[in-house]
Symmetry: C2
Subunit: 296 residues, 2 copies
């Protein structure tokens, strides 16, 4: 095996969950964990998501076969830039960033070229609306999809890094995920629809209800499953979503605008036969069954 | 006990679930079931939601202490009008209608007056996005809220009907519900926010996705928990929601318009500090924990 030692930079919800999933599924090598908040690394260690806390992320990355970047998009961007000049061509960097266009673009001059380390852009469609290593959970990957967006950029990856990329895909499979490869731009467009749109609609609805019904006990008593589902993501952290909003703004704005127009159309047709057309169309939309906890 | 014999007119998802819940919680008297679709009554009988199929709903109602009207709002409206002249003052009619203003208004001249039967308007906040007696389930009431909107209209109820109303509230409690009393107008406004708004947003989103991604396998593979939650209600039947849209249009349109504006605001601020304000507000919105299946 060529991945014997792993560094996880960012040991919060996703980084911690990946560490736990790897160890629970047979990875026996050292996993060095580092987090901007040292308490997150300490919790991750306590939960056996990592085997040791790295005091210096640069050294930890240099000493590992694979470096997993886990955190908000801009933090991954920064690590990509900082690590490229100091890693060796046989090392592999991979990530869990939610937006891939900007990351792949920035990485294209820095990775997968002669003498440069390898980069395999990834994105597990798994998560929770709550953050932190304390909420890490290996089972979020069970039956989830792990997206990869290598595109043409990875053609220049060294054979050693390539071997690690293949091995990493195997680990992704072992922890319960199905891999799907997408072009980065298409990734960002699809994720705007399936992930970012639900988040921002849920944020808008939760903010609206909080403002309008701040102290209304009846609303909270009456609100049932439908309202809970529609507002669950309202609890999501700004720190993560600010980066997504910034780096995928155009695609997200397109989906939100389309939904605004569709809701307006429906509102204007609450009493017309057009309402039936909308229900008929909506009735035809089906998602495959999936594991309860998998995917955001 | 004054409720010894019950007629359920409309033995679909909710009517069937009520019958099952009553019998599983100790109601031992006859429950006569009738449905516009005889197969629904047959399924309800097979599932022991009712004890016999009524061939004639009018006779079944006349022979029962309590008549439960269960179905779309307009069907309940029609039954309210048809039953008022033929029931006795000691009999009680109650319902599960989703919109209460129009029902209470129409009932005010026909019930709860000397010589007229009693009417206790009710609305369990429980359900599923799928309909029919085959999907009936007594557990949907566990930890749910059952709303009542008697208002001042019930002052003229006969003592015999009043006793049945008190007893019915006790049954509602026994099957797992917490009763909350609301003014009909406030009921309709609150339900527009917690139930009707989520439904129509889910319909709009599902219709939009079906139109845009009809045959896209990637979207369906990637779509996870967030998208499933936001589109679950897209499967809801038009037949039920047409009546709700018609009879609560103004309140629903108000909520949809408010959400449209809020989404627009968020879309226009994806890259400004205002995004943090929206996330902060949304993060503060909290619903109490509730039973998994309870409430729509």
């Amino acid at each position: 095996m060529s991945i014997e030692r792993i560094a996880i930079l960012g040991t919060g919800l996703i980084g911690g969950s990946v560490g736990m999933a790897l160890r629970q599924n047979g990875f026996t090598g050292p996993i060095l964990g580092w987090d901007r908040e040292v308490v997150q690394a300490a919790i991750a260690l306590g939960r056996e998501a990592i085997t040791e806390i790295a005091s210096d992320p640069i050294t930890a990355a240099q000493q590992s076969d694979l470096v997993l970047l886990s955190g908000p998009v801009f933090s991954i961007l920064e690590w990509l830039e900082n690590l490229a000049p100091i890693l060796r061509s046989e090392q592999l960097v991979t990530d869990v960033g939610s937006v891939k266009g900007i990351l792949c673009e920035r990485a294209s001059g820095l990775y997968n070229q002669p003498g440069m380390p390898g980069f395999l852009p990834g994105h597990p469609m798994a998560g929770k609306e709550i953050s932190g290593a304390a909420n890490a959970d290996a089972s979020i990957f069970y039956n989830a999809v792990w997206l990869f967006t290598e595109g043409a950029n990875s053609a220049g990856m060294s054979p050693e890094a390539r071997a690690k990329a293949i091995e990493w895909r195997d680990w992704v499979h072992r922890i319960g995920c199905r891999a799907i490869d997408l072009d980065p731009k298409r990734h960002d467009e699809l994720c705007a629809w399936v992930s970012h749109l639900p988040q921002f609609v849920s944020t808008a609805l939760s903010a609206l209800l909080e403002e309008k019904f701040r102290d209304d006990e009846d609303l909270r008593a009456i609100g049932g499953r439908a309202l809970r589902e529609m507002t669950r993501l309202g609890a999501s952290p700004y720190s993560m979503w600010r980066d997504i909003a910034h780096t995928n703004e155009e695609a997200i704005a397109t989906t939100l605008h389309a939904l605004e127009q569709r809701i307006t159309h429906l509102r204007e047709n609450l009493k017309t036969p057009e309402l039936r057309t909308e229900f008929d169309l909506a009735n035809r939309f089906r998602l495959p069954k999936q594991g309860k906890h998998s995917a955001k």
